[in-house]
């Protein structure tokens, strides 16, 4: 047996959606994180909860990249592919590097599974040499699992549910990991089911020991802890970070958090997470639909709470009219859009950045709304906090854009402490002298008078309002004035957000990659590698898309070419071209999957070489 030290490994776990792949993946993630590796993960769910077993449509996957170096993406190509059945192999073999390892559950390659995965009679990838470019470790996981549980009285079905622990144990051995964290997790999870707990632990250990003793796996790898900046870390998923960001904003502003939402993939986990934290005074409200969810948030904001609603693209379409109302009322609400593949129901479990223009323009009338976006799972914390800060301090609805990729992805997070967080100043007033509902301060922000305050009784509404008094007004000059002043108010937020920084590279050069949202990791990886190779390239990543940072125009002018990669058919590029009249170059991918770093790298190289 050899023991090899490697810098970075990408593993892809795949199986039927009932095989417990996501659990195995997230357990491996936690263990790697606690060991000190840098990492990035990407779950790949099928659209149906339990698609027909054994079919390609039913394959669920989980990709993790971990290493002793900095990791920004879940990886382009995999080193190891763990497959529970032949469909999982067929669907994911293209991800595997030549020479990579495949860990196979042979039980998932029987006649039935082969037929379900679309193989002709007699065809079997395990026996026809088609895998000769890879290192294949075969084991009958089902049989081994059942054998190890002969003394346990659980039913066969329940025993088979432990299969994921066998492969997890096997992979733990391959990467020299302890079982301790997973055992701890299982002990918590199955507190009230001692038999199930015992079975899971037994099988986990069996998988580990099997790898240790059997002949099939000849190599073991060491992936040292990463040299990350010093500090204390935790592992975090995007939706979780968003939920915590909202709670933090509630605490820093002293406002109660009201969260209205209607379940939709991939945003529901924010609702689940917030519902767990009622001890922070969070009022989570599962509404009857998205219109009710945003309307309830507006009602709560009128009452002096921080009103938040989250959804995905189809839900935002429903919320449009109410968001326009919030804009007219100038009340602080935050609309979270965890984007997914569109249009319509589109690709609900896949990722896309195709709702940016919807956030920017998707309302009737002139209704510009600030847009803040998150770039990585942990960045969802700061970005959602910022969305709340802007909403409250500037009395406006704000869009916060995340997407399926970062919402479900995970990474280590050097989490902040409360004392490091910004304060949020709240424009609530109780002063009765000269109060007018639409009188504005120098930021053009109106005061927030909430019910219960004697002497400040007033009426708001969606009809055009007279400047200052807020009374209904159909006067044409007043309307034009109000449209302009509301737009100017949003523009002025640029004075209260940070200037745009360059993430990697110089502030001047040949090519600038200007990106936003979840493309961060891929762009960063591409640009860093090219910088190391001596290319003149830089990366700037936008968090604030409306308004854009004040210095962006100057930054853009420092480069010969500006490349804008997006997981859509070109949306940020429309905004940038419109605003700065520059001939930015698009790079678009619309496959429901994130960019691979090499795709971005190739395009930068071409541009750099004048192509």
């Amino acid at each position: 047996m050899t023991q090899e030290t490697v810098e970075k490994v990408v593993i892809f776990f795949a199986g039927d959606s009932g095989d417990g792949i996501q659990l195995a993946g997230s357990q491996f993630t936690n263990t790697a994180a606690l060991y000190g590796n840098d990492l990035s993960t990407f779950p790949d769910f099928p659209a149906e909860i339990r698609a027909p077993q054994g079919t390609l449509a039913g394959v669920s996957g989980f990709q993790i990249s971990f290493g002793s170096t900095e990791i920004f993406t879940p990886g382009d190509e995999c080193d190891v592919l763990v497959v529970m059945n032949v469909a999982a192999l067929k669907a994911n073999l293209k991800r595997l590097k030549k020479g990579g390892a495949i860990i196979v559950n042979t039980d998932g390659f029987d006649k039935r599974n082969l037929r379900l995965a679309g193989f002709e009679d007699g065809e079997n990838p395990l026996s026809d040499n088609s895998l000769s470019d890879y290192r294949v470790s075969e084991m009958n996981v089902t049989k081994l699992t059942r054998e190890c549980l002969v003394d346990i009285t659980l039913g066969v079905k329940e025993k088979d549910r432990c299969k994921n622990m066998f492969v997890l144990g096997f992979v733990y051995w391959m990467y020299n990991r302890t079982l301790e964290h997973t055992i701890e997790f299982l002990t918590q999870k199955f507190k009230s089911k001692p038999e199930v707990l015992e079975a899971n632990i037994k099988v986990l250990k069996a998988g580990y020991n099997f790898a240790d003793t059997c002949e099939i796996s000849s190599s073991r790898f060491e992936v040292k802890p990463a040299k990350m900046s010093s500090g204390t870390y935790r592992n975090i998923m995007g939706n979780q970070a968003t939920a915590i960001g909202l709670i933090a904003a509630s605490q820093q502003s002293g406002l109660d958090l009201f969260y209205g939402s209607y379940p939709i993939t991939p945003a529901s986990d924010i609702l689940h997470e917030l519902a767990k934290h009622k001890n922070f005074g969070v009022k989570s409200f599962q509404a009857e639909d998205e219109i009710a969810a945003v309307s309830a948030a507006i009602g709560a904001a009128f009452g002096g709470a921080l009103g938040v609603t989250a959804t995905s693209g189809p839900g935002v379409a429903l919320k449009g009219e109410a968001i326009g109302l919030a804009f007219m009322l100038e009340l602080p609400i935050v609309i979270v859009n965890v984007q997914r593949g569109g249009p319509s129901t589109g690709l609900p479990t896949k990722t896309e950045q195709a709702d940016l223009l919807q956030a920017m323009y998707g309302r009737n009338g002139e209704a510009p709304i600030p847009v803040v976006s998150a770039s990585t799972p942990s960045d969802c914390f700061e970005a959602s906090f910022e969305a709340c800060r802007i909403a409250i301090e500037h009395m406006t609805p704000v869009f916060f854009l995340s997407d399926g990729y970062i919402a479900n992805g995970a990474e280590p997070w050097m989490y902040p402490q409360t004392k490091d967080l910004k304060d949020i100043s709240v424009p609530i007033t109780t002063k009765t002298e000269d109060y007018l509902p639409y009188k504005r301060d120098e930021k053009l922000v109106r005061e927030w008078a909430i019910p219960g305050t004697a002497g400040l009784e007033h009426r708001l509404g969606g009809l055009e309002k007279e400047a200052e008094t807020g009374n209904v007004s159909y006067d044409s000059d007043n309307h034009e004035y109000m449209v302009k002043i509301r737009a100017e108010k949003v523009e002025r937020i640029a004075e209260f957000i940070p200037l745009q920084k360059v993430d990697s590279g110089e502030v001047k050069g040949k090519v600038l990659v200007l990106a936003w949202g979840s493309t961060y990791g891929a762009v960063k990886t591409a640009v860093k590698e090219l910088l190391a190779d001596g290319f003149s390239v830089s990366h700037a990543h936008l968090r604030y898309i409306n308004p854009l940072p004040k210095n962006l125009v100057e930054l853009l002018s420092g480069f010969d070419k500006v490349l804008i990669p997006e997981i859509n058919n070109g949306q940020l590029i429309k905004i940038i071209r419109d605003k700065y009249l520059i001939d930015a170059i698009p790079l678009n991918k619309i496959k429901g999957t994130p960019f691979e770093a090499r795709e971005i790298k190739n395009r930068i190289k071409e541009l750099h070489d004048g192509k």
Binding site: N30, A33, Y35, G36, H181, P225, A226, K227, S229, S230, T232, Y233, R234, N235, I236, I244, I247, F258, G260, K278, N279, F280, G281, V282, K283, F285, A287, E288, I291, A292, S295, A296, I298, G299, A300, F302, G303, G304, A305, E321, A322, L325, Y415, P416, Q417, T418, P451, G452, T453, A454, L456, E457, H458, R459, L460, G461, G462, L463, N471, V472
Partner: protein, 333 residues
Amino acid sequence: MENKEYTAKDFSSDQEVRWCPGCGDYSILKQVQSVMPEIGVDKEDIVFISGIGCSSRFPYYMNTYGMHSIHGRATAIASGLKAARPDLSVWIITGDGDSLSIGGNHLIHLLRRNFDTNILLFNNQIYGLTKGQYSPTSEKGKKTKSTPMGSIDHPFNPLALCMGADATFIARTMDRDPKHMREMLKLSNDHKGSSLLEIYQNCNVFNDGAFFGMTDKATKMNQTLFLEDGEPLLFGENKSKGIKLDGFKPIVVSMEDTSADDLWIHDEKDRVKAGLLTRFFDDEMPRPFGVFYSEDRMLYEDALVGQIEEAKELKGKGNLDNLLKGSNTWSID
């Protein structure tokens, strides 16, 4: 806070009222303004939320907190407000189109959740603001601009719908009977839970006389039935007619040959009978007014606050630093 002494005038805003002359909405506004001083709530703790429609202009005329929102969503906005601020007295103003067409979904969900709010449903059986199309409560065959050959829609029976949504307070009144309306407004306010008060309101421009038979001197005695808790169902000239139950079938009897003891005695707490009463909806039976049904049930906002208190007790008041930290951390120096 100490309750202040108010008069109706204190509840009138400085905005000019802009309904058509003769519109039934005026009468409702007047009664609401006159009832407000009697409900024992400080003005600043009262909020009126409306949707869109002629009726929904209402909050502009009330000198309280208010919001004229978007079509059909007043109920949803009020739900969020009440969840955030259980201390407020929240009134919802809505029309038959606003609450039963575009906003039907939010209405039934508010009712089943039982937020402590008062819904005043101005039913004029027409879309007033959009100039006279038929509404979900317009009768079949109604000729309007959008139904020149007569409406082919089966109309909603609003109170039966609300019974079906498990509303905890259901009542009906009309614009032409200010005294009864005041009483119903007060009872709606007194009820802990969602109160639904349907108000028959005459739109004299697009649907004049929709409730003529129930308001005209010559016919109203025979076409209306005023419900009183614990009292027999009597109507007609000099209360000469009564209603009796034959199994579940209501029948009209003459009081000349029936004893009041044999009549249906109204019981606001009886859900089954309330259901039957909401079905007095055709020309054969007089139309009931008053409180059909009233029930005490857990308020949504109380349960919501209750869970927060329980969570605080169980886990302690939330500590942000602990939340940021999570359960597993590691350090790199």
